[in-house]
């Protein structure tokens, strides 16, 4: 994993090196001080040598000043390197996601991709910054302090033979045992968040079914579980510090007892004992720092892995086979024995042996129950997914022969789950075509019946749309999305259930508008209501991933029982709806 992330430090390696050097020299200088202090006590005070004390004192101040420079330098280098690394990683990951096909995106899910791009990257850049400082500092301090302690008194250092293994055992115990505690904690946190998320997403259902009490109880159960898990996990973690205090305290007591004998016996100077005391503290503290870094590191390894997964994901759809000079000639579409499934490991097919011929300029209605693969069928035309077997032809060429840019330039699709972006109405519409004139915008909106509500908005086409289009209604959003697709002036226009939130009268007006707009373009309309597609040139009835029938309204009424049943049931509905 580290090998995979290493390339993104490019351009910042000198900064990293500088930071490490600064940090290391700060730590070494810092630990020279207690030794100098012991010289003051044992040489200066003992001999009453004022000049020696003064000179040593000045040396110490200079060392501390140098350490200050090193410390601040390390911080500056770490900031530069950490943030630079983070930015490059974020950029690479974001660009990778832009290469993803629909199935790549679905493989990760939107929420997970966002986390991997935001907090995971933040954690990585923090880790680099921290480790440049602490990961260098802790081992250097440990080694220097150990060397200093050994030079002061080899025999007194034997105390560490007991206390260091004890400390390591405590650290090892915590690190090995803490993992499961926090995995459990993470799981119950996810459980709680899941309930909240489900509840927020389905708040309408919750309210209309009056399920609030049940939701509260469900939440309470998981919340209590989270509380108990958290108490166990943190309760375990807090035993760590007191154990450390105990080990450190006993070490100090032992040093004083043994060292006291040495000093009295004349084999050790009292200043050395004080310095030794200080180094002992540093050794134990830096050991703890190492263990803390290890804990942080294990957590950030998880984040790093998640980022690498994104970077390693192979974009499923590429332009390798494409001829960049090839243009889409007309809007004819052919499905030739197409087989398709979303998950390569799934047993059944989502589309089974679909063959279909659509001539350029036709209006095609697509009807079928939920899960009958209507959306799947049309998604293959702009090559949002790759067929597993068979082929899809657009304008007489296999879709794989066009670059994605050419193909998607020619096919405009209005997705069932559609999105507007924050910005003005006009900016959103110009996603369709960047250089569209104001007049073209208005024309597209007239066809999509969006012009009325836009002109009623305070700033007309310059009114702001909130992120995700939350400040326009569902029906308005759908009409804006249709206008955006029309603006593209495509050879093929695909509307996937795009008027579901629009009232029947407006729906009829949009269809009427579309009939005259974009002459020559092939139009595919997925609809729930047969009325929406009744007068299409061709109606395709989908059933369980297969084409159950295709023909005009009259032909299907004659030959296709599914179509007939749906038509009859909807006729009743019309009577009630008015």
């Amino acid at each position: 994993m580290i090998r995979k992330l290493l390339p993104y430090t490019k351009g910042y390696r000198l900064w990293i090196l500088g930071g490490i050097l600064c940090s290391a020299s700060e730590s070494v200088l810092e630990l020279m001080l207690p030794k100098a202090m012991s010289d003051i006590v044992d040489v200066g005070i003992a001999n009453g040598d004022r000049a020696f004390i003064l000179i040593t004192g000045i040396k110490m101040v200079l060392m501390a000043l140098l350490a200050l420079a090193g410390g601040v330098g390390a911080a500056l280098f770490a900031a530069k390197a950490g943030m630079g690394f983070g930015a490059q990683l974020r950029q690479a990951e974001y660009e990778q996601v832009q290469r993803f096909s629909f199935s790549n995106i679905e493989h990760f899910s939107t929420a997970s991709l966002i986390t991997r791009l935001t907090s995971d990257v933040a954690s990585m850049q923090m880790t680099l910054m921290m480790s440049m400082r602490i990961f260098v500092r802790a081992p250097v301090m440990l080694l220097t302090a150990l060397v200093m302690a050994l030079t002061i008194s080899l025999s007194l250092s034997q105390v560490f033979l007991v206390s260091i293994p004890l400390l390591m055992m405590a650290v090892a115990l915590v690190i090995t045992r803490v993992g499961p505690f926090f995995t459990a904690l993470q799981k119950s946190t996810d459980d709680v968040n899941l309930v909240v998320q489900e509840d927020l997403n389905a708040i309408r259902v919750v309210k209309s079914f009056v399920r609030e009490e049940e939701e509260k109880e469900k939440f309470a159960r998981r919340n209590e579980h989270l509380r108990d898990t958290a108490m166990r996990a943190f309760g375990f973690v807090v035993t760590f510090m007191p154990i450390i205090t105990l080990i450190m305290g006993s070490t100090m007591v032992a040093i004083m007892w043994i060292g006291g004998h040495y000093v009295y016996g004349g084999t050790m100077l009292s200043g050395d004992l004080i310095a030794f005391f200080t180094y002992a503290g540093e050794i134990l503290v830096s050991l703890m720092m190492v263990s803390m870094v290890l804990m942080i590191l294990t957590r950030s390894i998880a984040c790093g892995k998640r980022i690498v997964e994104v970077l390693d994901e192979k974009p499923e759809i590429t332009d390798v086979q494409a001829d960049s000079a090839l243009k889409v000639g007309d809007g004819s579409i052919t499905f030739d024995h197409v087989y398709f499934k979303y998950h390569p490991t799934a047993e059944g097919w989502n589309l089974t042996d679909v063959s279909l011929q659509i001539r350029s300029g036709m209006t095609v209605g697509i009807i079928g129950g939920t899960g009958s693969a209507k959306t799947t069928l049309v998604s293959l035309i702009p090559r949002l997914y790759e067929v597993n077997d068979g082929a899809v032809y657009v304008g007489g060429h296999n879709v794989k022969d066009y670059t994605m840019e050419t193909l998607r330039e020619a096919c405009a699709m209005v997705l069932q789950k559609n999105t507007l972006f924050s910005g003005t109405v006009a900016e959103n519409l110009r996603w369709g075509r960047a250089d569209a004139t104001d007049e073209e915008l208005r024309e597209a909106c007239r066809i999509a019946c969006a012009d009325e509500f836009i002109s009623a908005m305070p700033d007309g086409y310059d009114s702001r749309i909130e992120q995700g289009g939350t400040n326009v209604s569902g029906g308005q959003k759908q009409r804006l999305c249709i206008a955006r697709a029309i603006l593209r002036n495509p050879k093929i226009l695909i509307l996937d259930d795009s008027t579901s939130a629009v009232d029947t009268a407006t729906d009829a007006r949009i269809r009427e508008g579309l009939r005259h707009a974009l002459p020559g373009a092939t139009k595919l309309i997925i609809a729930q209501r047969i009325a929406s597609v009744m007068d299409a040139d061709l109606i395709v009835v989908m059933d369980d991933g297969k084409i159950s029938g295709a023909g005009t309204h009259d032909e299907l009424m004659e030959s296709n029982h599914i179509y007939r049943e749906v038509y009859e049931s909807q006729q009743e509905g019309v009577g009630i709806d008015g």
């Binding site: 900031a79 968040n193 259902v205 509260k216 807090v238 998607r408």
Partner: protein, 382 residues
């Protein structure tokens, strides 16, 4: 040209989600009062915590003071029976300090997790009473982040920051008093360096704060953009908008990198600056202490004990100066949580009729009535 602008969102949205670093609560006193109401269930336990805190911090300060009599009265004269007795006391002090710090940590975990769980439950229960209009006007991601980020910061506050601040204040005061007792002249040097540290905190800290604000709004912009683009990724694919989405992202990414580098440079310099000021203090103290010792005003044992305190005295100052930001962030988080809790609940006006109609319609056998709901919601289109 065509790509939508992501306006920085200071209050809510993804920007707010990440921008905890230096957020300030608007009504600090009110938020503290509301939070205290949750914690005050545990008055007795809190009292116990205070007691343990006192024992633990004073215990370790006192144990370090023992260095002086150990060297002066027992080691140098060679009184090993006395030394043994003193070392037992010293060990006892460390042990007591460890035990009481274990006790208060365990109790604090209990208090904090119970408080946070209660807070979470109340927040969730409150959400169930809010009218649909509330969910139309608030993004679910934003509400979600009250449950995750905001609750987390509050939990961290109660769990560790509160105890840590108290310990630090106690340790600082006790250490300072001990230093005065050992030698008031040397303490003057420490006071001077503590004042220098105060200046550093004010200067670097002030710069760091303004830079952090820039960093957080840049972070909000880049994360907001990521969120929006990834959520609309399929539309980007359909309209082949990838390159434009990358171009705008690059600008925001670089802007954030530069702002963050500046902010982190200041923030990162703080600790080394404080630490090394404390070391300069140590150096000067050694020198002056040595001179005093030659003059006979001071003895070696006191110098040893004093130097232990010099190394310790600045730690609480540095830690408190860092904790302040955690506290403010937690308070800002708590304020956002209470803001939801204080929203107007659904009132039964004329709408009751509609709710009842749906209720009777749905409480008929078919449970999986999702399509019915779907149609119901389209009907509410304004």
């Amino acid at each position: 040209m065509a790509e939508p602008r992501t306006a920085p969102r200071p209050q809510r949205g993804p920007g707010g989600r990440q921008a905890h670093g230096y957020q300030r609560p608007q009504d600090l006193a009110g938020t503290v009062r509301k939070l205290l109401r949750y914690v005050s269930h545990y008055k007795l336990l809190l009292l116990l915590v205070m007691l343990c805190l006192l024992i633990s911090s004073l215990g370790s300060v006192a144990a370090n003071y023992l260095v002086k009599p150990l060297i002066n009265d027992y080691i140098l004269p060679g009184d090993f029976a006395g030394l043994f007795k003193m070392l037992v006391i010293m060990g006892g002090l460390f042990g007591m300090s460890a035990l009481s710090s274990f006790a208060y940590a365990r109790v604090m975990v209990r208090i904090s997790q119970r408080t946070v769980a209660a807070l979470r439950q109340d927040l969730f229960d409150k959400l169930q009473t809010l009218p649909l209009r509330y969910f139309d006007t608030h993004q679910s991601g934003d509400l979600m982040s009250r449950f995750t980020n905001d609750i987390d910061t509050v939990s961290e506050l109660i769990n560790s920051s509160l105890a840590s601040i108290l310990t630090n204040v106690l340790t600082f005061v006790a250490t300072f008093i001990m230093m005065l007792i050992l030698n008031w002249q040397l303490t003057l040097i420490t006071v001077f360096f503590l004042m220098m540290m105060g200046v550093v905190v004010m200067v670097i800290g002030g710069r760091s704060r303004t830079n952090f604000q820039t960093q957080q709004s840049a972070l909000g912009a880049v994360n907001g953009y990521i969120e929006e683009m990834i959520e609309g990724q399929k539309v980007i694919k359909v309209f082949h908008h990838e390159e434009k989405a990358i171009a705008r992202f690059s600008e925001l990414n670089v802007a954030y990198r530069d702002a963050a580098t500046r902010a982190q440079s200041y923030a990162g310099s703080m600790m080394p600056a404080m630490g090394n000021l404390s070391r300069i203090n140590y150096a000067v103290t050694c020198c002056v202490g040595g001179l005093l010792a030659i003059g006979g005003i001071f003895d070696v044992g006191s110098l040893g004990a004093y130097l232990v305190y010099v190394r310790q005295v600045s730690q609480p100052v540095a830690q408190i100066s860092q904790q302040v930001n955690v506290i403010l962030a937690a308070m800002a988080g708590a304020e956002r949580i209470f803001a939801v809790m204080e929203s107007e609940p659904e009132t039964d006006e004329g709408k009751t009729v509609l709710v009842c109609v749906e209720k009777t319609a749905i409480s008929s056998p078919r449970r999986r009535g999702a399509p019915a709901i779907g149609r119901g919601s389209t009907r509410t289109e304004r």
